[in-house]
Symmetry: C2
Subunit: 154 residues, 2 copies
């Protein structure tokens, strides 16, 4: 990519991030972006973005949650979750059912179609996980999960 442009003395240290290379925060961001971009590309053919995929996974594991719970668990604002879920519902991948005890809220469920899409997405994700593990080496995944868990716990 044209590192030696021109003819002067400027050597153009293109990708040298210097002190940032040893910065946890910086590497965390770079790693997150890299890994997320892979997932975005993998899910794109299914018309799913990572956040929507997260909803499908969560509803598979814990059906009947209400919007506030799902949004909270995924770190999404209630207000933004509405639109996100509207699209899943419009596409017939999930549905809002009335709650018997509280007419303010909905119980959220995957549809059969939604579970199919989730399953296909999971297969695509699994392929990426394998490549992740290859990069991380033996035991690397568990180590990373531990360390990240400590950061999230706060």
């Amino acid at each position: 990519m044209g590192s030696e442009a021109g003819k002067g003395g400027t050597v153009a240290k293109a990708a040298d991030v210097g002190p940032l290379a040893a910065n946890v925060r910086y590497l965390l961001r770079r790693a997150q972006l890299a890994v997320f971009d892979e997932l975005i590309q993998a899910l794109a053919p299914l018309g799913l973005r990572p956040a929507q995929y997260g909803v499908l996974i969560l509803l598979k594991h814990a059906p009947g949650l209400k919007q506030t719970d799902v949004a909270g668990a995924l770190g999404i604002q209630r207000a933004n979750f509405v639109v996100l879920f509207d699209e899943l519902e419009r596409r017939g991948l999930a549905r809002r059912d009335p709650m018997p005890n509280d007419r303010r809220s909905y119980a959220l469920y995957l549809t059969a179609a939604g579970d199919e899409v989730r399953e296909r997405a999971a297969k695509r994700e699994a392929a990426l996980e394998a490549s992740l593990d290859a990069k991380l080496g033996p035991g690397g995944r568990q180590q990373l999960l531990d360390l990240l868990g400590r950061l999230v716990a706060s």
Copy 2:
């Protein structure tokens, strides 16, 4: 936070993310957001956002880089970098100098004021790093840097 709303059987599993809790990508995002939010709060009193702080760090370490290089090193689009740097220049924290060999590009430098602000930001960041290390435990930082580095490398 009102987990026992209503009187029915719904126990409201508020923060149970189930399978996502063991997902590298999900934890990576959550950790990155948590850690970045700390930095955003710490830098806010200085009127700096993380990306701007990154520019100051980079220019301190490698003065005289041109816009394309700095943007590329930080993973920012050339077009977006222009506006970002405009603000640093407007505030007198950095400057564009003409390049002798190439009249298309600028050599970017920190000003004295910019270096002062960078220094103050670095001190605030250092405080956060200490708290990070406490969470990560002995050797945790280096382990994490290694693992993240492998994810970014590819």
